[in-house]
């Protein structure tokens, strides 16, 4: 008995956490077995097992892969562009007070606005293909990266910069030896936030005027009352987000063993 209690107290964290999720799934699965749903409601209802079946079916028919491929391309291109522009711009804004003052109004304004409002405009300019989605992913993901890089550069120890300077380092060397290593953690945090925004951009971008991609698949399924297909999409997006977020979190905690956990932010 005591061994059992010990076993429980040692792993209470995982048992309670995993147990709760398991319980929810079982409860969800057993709802139609316990109560007879009215016809109108059963139209919107699905169970985890049905979602799984549908997922398997779509997988066999090669449908999920095709949509996933389009979504993944949009995600990677947009995020790549965001890194390409966000990091250098953040570094420049952090190092030059004139640039900082000149770009700040735009960064503040665009960061406060939900970037998806630009979607109709981007569709008008870039058409219904993947490029309007790539752009929406890009403008979603670029600001967390830019702002975090900026904060990282701003928080660099002045003394270190001055020491390297007085030993004759130029701006490039200061950047390489002091600024970049010190803002690495901030950049990684920015990357995590950017990944979340990028996935959001893919989802929403495809809801609205797209024929290919997981978001388009979900929007079409929802209007045809294929609720299980919608949940397949939700589950895929969830899984991808979790994998990315947890991976970057791992890197983060490697970089900050000494730091207590701050507020969760996604």
């Amino acid at each position: 008995m005591t061994r059992l209690v010990n076993f429980y107290t040692e792993r209470e964290h995982y048992i309670l956490g995993g147990g709760f999720i398991l319980l929810l799934i079982i409860a969800w699965e057993s709802v139609p077995h316990l109560v007879a749903l009215p016809r109108a409601l059963s139209l919107f209802f699905t169970t985890p097992s049905k979602v799984w079946e549908t997922f398997y079916e779509l997988l066999v028919r090669n449908e999920v892969q095709a949509h996933f491929y389009v979504s993944a391309t949009e995600f990677l291109l947009g995020l790549g562009l965001a890194i390409l522009f966000g990091l250098p711009l953040g570094l420049i804004m952090g190092r030059s007070s004139v640039m900082d003052a000149m770009f700040d109004p735009y960064v503040t304004a665009l960061n406060a606005t939900p970037r998806i409002v630009f979607l109709p405009l981007l569709i008008l300019w870039l058409g219904l293909g993947i490029w309007s989605k790539v752009m929406i992913v890009f403008i979603g993901a670029v600001f967390p990266l830019l702002i975090n890089t900026y904060e990282g550069v701003k928080n660099v120890d002045r003394v270190l910069v001055n020491v390297v300077r007085s030993f004759g380092a130029n701006e490039w060397q200061v950047m390489k030896m002091v600024v970049l290593p010190n803002s690495l953690l901030y950049i990684v945090v920015g990357l995590r936030l950017a990944i979340g925004r990028a996935i959001l951009g893919v989802v929403v971008g495809e809801f609205y005027g797209a024929t290919k991609g997981l978001g388009a698949m979900m929007a079409r399924a929802a209007s045809a009352y294929q609720v299980d297909v919608v949940f397949v999409g939700v589950a895929i997006f969830m899984a991808v987000s979790l994998i990315f977020t947890l991976t970057v979190k791992k890197i983060e905690s490697k970089l900050t063993r000494w730091r207590p956990e701050a507020v969760k932010s996604f």
Binding site: E12, F20, I21, M102, V117, P120, N148, V204, M238, V263
Partner: protein, 262 residues
Amino acid sequence: MGAKRIYQEYQRPILGLVSVAGLFLAWELVLTYLVPLNPFFFTKPSLIATAFQEQVLGGRLWHDLIISSRAFLWGFSCAIAVGIPVGVLMGWRRRAEYTLDPFLTALYASPLVALAPLIIVVFGVGLLAKSVLVFLLAVFPFIFNAFAGVRSTDRLLINVVKSFGGKEKDLYFKVILPSTLPYIVAGTRIAIGRGLVGIIVGEFVAASEGIGFAISRFGDTYQLPEMFAAIFFLMITAIVLTEGMRKLEAALAPWRVGQEAR
């Protein structure tokens, strides 16, 4: 001499103003004199200003904004009412944290907007569906910030209240709540951003009125000046809300400013 001193003192706002004014001026001039304007593809500031005046003073955009903010307020109030108690519970009771944390973290990390089409199908086009969407997106920052706030409460203060005979109620209202407040304000700022996303997405997917609907309708009908006017209108609203929260944060907890990623 005087001008130089003024410049040095107000360098930031001056440079910011110059760059914004310069951009708009260049935009206007290029499209007036250099490149012929294709009204189906682009527009210029003077036309946007006219449209803005018409739409905002004519009251159309205000009407849309009120429609949108009604759904926003319902969803947001529910998010506060549910999020803060859940967060406080998680911070105060270890078992509650163990039980809820993995589940809620998974939900927080995943793009819940993906549920938008389903929510609209289930709850219908209109106020309810949008409120549910806003609630779903905005509740997590409240939960996790209240949680972190309770966790950061000084144990010493709790012990002092306890040893002077304070009750559970005193602990909550005299120690935990005040020290959690700055965290909750920070959470509010994040939640505003997410809630706005919810409103806009809800109205993009299916709506008959509201600011997101206005933007997408103007886009569909190639009314570019009106569309830009609506976007700028929403932008101003968003900036006022977010920067207001940031000011409040700075007033409540000046030592925390700039510690957290935006």
